[in-house]
Amino acid sequence: MPELNLTSAPAHLRHGSSIGQPLTRRDGVLKVKGQATYAADNHPPGLLFAVIAVSNIAHGRVTSLDVAAAKRHPGVVEVMTPDHKPPLAIDPEIKTNPFVFRMEVLQSNEVRYANQPIAVVIAETLEAATEGAVLLAPRYETLPALVGLDAGKSYVPPVVGVGNPTENHLGDVTAGLASADKQIDAIYETPAQYHNAMEPHAIVAHWNGDRLEIDMPTQGLMLSLARVAELFGIAHDKIHIRSPFLGGGFGSKGLMAGPPVLGIMAAKLVGKPVKLVLRREQMYGPVGHRAPTRQRLRIGADAEGRLTALDHHARTVSSTFDDFYEPAADASHTLYAAPAIRTSHDAVRVNTGTPLFMRAPGEATGSIALESAIDEMAWACGMDPLAFRLKNYAEVEPITGKPFSSKALRACYDQGAARFGWAKRSLQPRQMRDDAGLLVGWGMGTATFPALMFQAEARAVLRRDGSGAMEIGAHDMGQGAWTALAQIAADELGLDIERVEFKAGSSDLPDAGIAGGSAHTATAGAAIHSAGAAVIAKLADLATNDERSPLFGAGNAGVIARDGRLTRRDDESRSESYGEILARAGVAEVEARGTGAPNPAAMEQYAMHAHGAVFAEVKVDPELGQIRVTRMVGAFAAGRIVNPHLVRSQLFGGMIWGLSFALHEEAITDRRSGRIMNANLGEYHIPVNADVPPLDVITVEEHDPHVNALGIKGVGEIGITGSAGAVANAVWHATGVRVRRFPIRIEDLLTQR
């Protein structure tokens, strides 16, 4: 792979302190010139095109495929079917670890959901492969499809999310509800949603002898590599995956799914490089989605508006063949100080591709229900929604009783409300109009997302020419890893960012873990931090043990690395450049590795979360029911901000996802066939530019000494939480109509004028 030519904006640089600087994206020039290479942009010589044929029934069996017709089409080279495919080393149905999901790679004729891959056509041109897939004209034995939240008998899954307990209890919820002065008991529904990254899932796979070259967007290079290795029975060091840029991921490119495996199989079958790109409609099945939920919230409050109990139950779905459960009710664990809390989940199985993590899994679905219910409770108590939330502010994490590692939520409420002008809000709904007569509503929601850490490793190098390198197989799906992690690397190496060669996005680099859980900057950053410290320590050893060095005798703890020099802490006049140290030691470079990992002791002691408060204004046409969000303010406390420029963008993006959750996104499944009827970007509505109002983000200062060495909490997902509820609550405040099924539709608001 050619080296990426990354740039930065030197005007913003302050030597020795890249962290915290609002650098523009170092990959910006590549991206605006169309030179950033996404997987489908690769064209190895001899490339063939593979197109998947997918099932258009949701349940049953493929009984025939017209392979001959496909092969007769000019340009078609091969048709891969369950009867004609290269063997895999293991059964793809075997779950070798909890991060392995079952996939369809032509292991049988069974159809478990609509849009499931059932064959692959490989051709000399994209046009031929595409038509070849149509000519297969599959016939089916169709079985009744399981559709919807009441598709069958419900059951209690063993865990939800990633290993979370299905149920949690604190205190006596029944007694708490019984003793309440005011109660609400409401059911909220959220639809199936699809990640719909702008970049469709793609792979260019090339078998070079026994070596496998892969270009593929992935949020988890090493997890993907390990899965490919076990499926194809080849050693890890025979596989190279390049993923320098992802055109968005949002969770759908985290784990190896069936389609890229089919691309690798196709390349093996034809003995040539193969490019396989999902068509947009094919992204509504085999690559995950956010499951629908139906959530019941029962909340009690006393006469002063203090919560007495919070009971949150979520029904969701999983596929008929694997398990992932949207942990929606868990959103009620951390935010509000109810003395009694119960969260529980159950599920039914439906004919769907297995649900998966989608930006803020659990928190997004749970938050819109919880924040709506809290708003309803505030209204029932006759209280301002912010005053009600402050009244029930959790000083310790309610469900565990642990103190927070840090929690600047009160400041988020204060600063957000002040910026928004919340104090002028009418308590009663349907009181505010603009000059044109449109109904105006103001709503708020509290945002929260756990501060997670995974495992990562980095390799740091200092060179005699005064430059450094930091290597880590990190992933940039738009959050800005190329920039933010390089900023951390520069500081940890004590170098100007221009002097650091930062390498990422490739599986031949140290494992950076997974870009998910809003934990990538924290985890990879921690690894970079420790690798940097380790290589500086080595360099310091060289200097402080060398009589010829002005640093001789200073000891490791006695030097500071800054601006490419080591300086005695107790005497700034005594310093030496990295190059001088290495030259005298006669070595070209020193290198060291470091790791980042969660701190179990701190996790045991503290609850770790980012927080925020989102305020939204909507306008609603009182007669026509169309809704427009006209203003949003989000104040977020997420620990240390590595790059405020990029953090703001991430939070904006999250807030737009929240807006979309409340007003737009919904996969519409035919209740009879189980087919998704809007599997496209024309009818599956995500916000367009005109839907997005002026947004305002405040990052509230927060120092967290416990979450990790750098104090980073992560901002990738928190923006959705709070925002969805804020918009929904604003719609209620504008109209007086409480809609509990999302997205809110025009017809929901036509009930009155």
């Binding site: 007569g437 007669e623 009879r672």
Partner: protein
């Protein structure tokens, strides 16, 4: 996409001859046809590319006061023609409320008239659809149909026509000029599209080989420039098809409605002219009560075809609003958000 023969005729006569063959279809910009071909809804054997034909991309003012719009004029070029927008503001507003700027730059006037329904069951080739495959059945009935037709539908088909452009054109009595195997003819736009009845596969009255050459707005259409609006309710602010839309045009003389024109979009298999509503407005003052009465007349025959009874009430309210906006006067410039209830110039809501 199925393999096809590509034909580029030099003249209209050659085009008609080439397209009259079974399996042939015209290609203009292709913004709808190529989409349908990619989805295998349309699988023509032959494409007759008319985009290189001369003389079909002109906007001409005729001596009698008519306007003749060539079939190959792009949606954007028409909407951005300053004289056109001033004279037929509701048409320009409708054009600019449709699709995206990119699609409007490509899409043609003739193509817009002939765009196919967005019914999801028509697009989903695994579903039964009488329109796509005559006699196969209609899976939209009993399916996910909250956006489907409330007027003029049949048990065979509940799809709607998606055009914005056609709605004000219909209100203004547009005429369609057609070249066919038997020469040239013209029909009212209202006669171009058919209601489904038992034959939803026959969407228009066009015969094989028929080529739309132009759309003509008659002289009387100029009389509504001062009071004409298009209003469109949709599920996002832009780049979405109408749930329901309406074009309202009034000629107001001495404080009374001398003549009213009203058409609805998104409610039927064709753009829907509401003549009964027009009739009750003639000669009365443009008041809220009169507009309410017109709205009731316009939707008198409406009935839900599924989970869409709300569209009837919504359509009534849109009619009232569109008439109110039209009565208030055409804005000097097309609003920043064309046809939107949030267009900055609305101001017609009674608090």
């Amino acid at each position: 996409m199925k393999q096809f023969d590509y034909v580029r005729p030099a003249t209209v006569a050659e085009a008609v001859a080439a397209a009259a063959q079974p399996g042939a279809t015209y290609l203009a910009a292709g913004t709808n046809l190529l989409d349908l071909m990619k989805g295998n809804i349309s699988r023509p054997d032959r494409l007759v590319d008319v985009t290189h034909l001369d003389g079909l991309d002109q906007i001409e003012r005729l001596a009698d006061g008519s306007l003749r719009i060539g079939a190959l004029v792009s949606n954007a070029d028409l909407a951005h023609d300053a004289e056109f927008a001033k004279t037929y503001p509701a048409v320009a507003e409708a054009l600019l409320s449709g699709a995206s700027a990119q699609l409007r730059n490509a899409a043609t006037v003739g193509g817009n008239l002939l765009q196919r329904t967005r019914c999801a069951y028509f697009y989903d080739t695994a579903s039964r659809c009488n329109k796509r495959e005559a006699g196969s059945g209609c899976d939209a009935r009993g399916g996910e149909n909250r956006t489907h037709a409330v007027l003029g539908w049949s048990e065979s088909c509940i799809a709607t026509h998606p055009s914005d452009f056609c709605v004000p054109l219909l209100a203004l009595d547009a005429i369609v000029e057609i070249e066919g195997r038997n020469g040239r003819r013209e029909i009212a736009l209202d006669e171009l599209h058919r209601l489904p009845g038992h034959t939803p596969e026959r969407e228009t009255v066009l015969e094989p080989g028929d080529l739309i050459l132009a759309v003509r707005l008659p002289p009387a259409a100029r009389g509504f420039a001062a009071h004409a609006r298009y209003l469109k309710v949709r599920e996002r602010m832009s780049y979405a098809f109408a749930i329901v839309s309406a074009a309202a045009a009034l000629r107001i003389e001495d404080g009374k409605v001398a003549e009213a024109r009203l058409a609805l979009g998104g409610v039927a298999a064709k753009p829907w002219r509401a003549r009964a509503a027009e009739d009750v407005l003639r000669g009365v003052a443009p008041t809220a009560d009169a507009f309410q009465e017109a709205a009731w007349r316009a939707l008198a025959d409406a009935k839900p075809s599924g989970d869409n009874s709300y569209k009837i009430e919504l359509a009534r309210r849109i009619v009232v609003r569109a008439l109110t906006l039209a009565a208030a006067g055409t804005p000097a410039r097309i609003p920043a958000l064309p046809a939107s209830p949030f267009a900055s110039t609305s101001g017609a809501i009674h608090a």
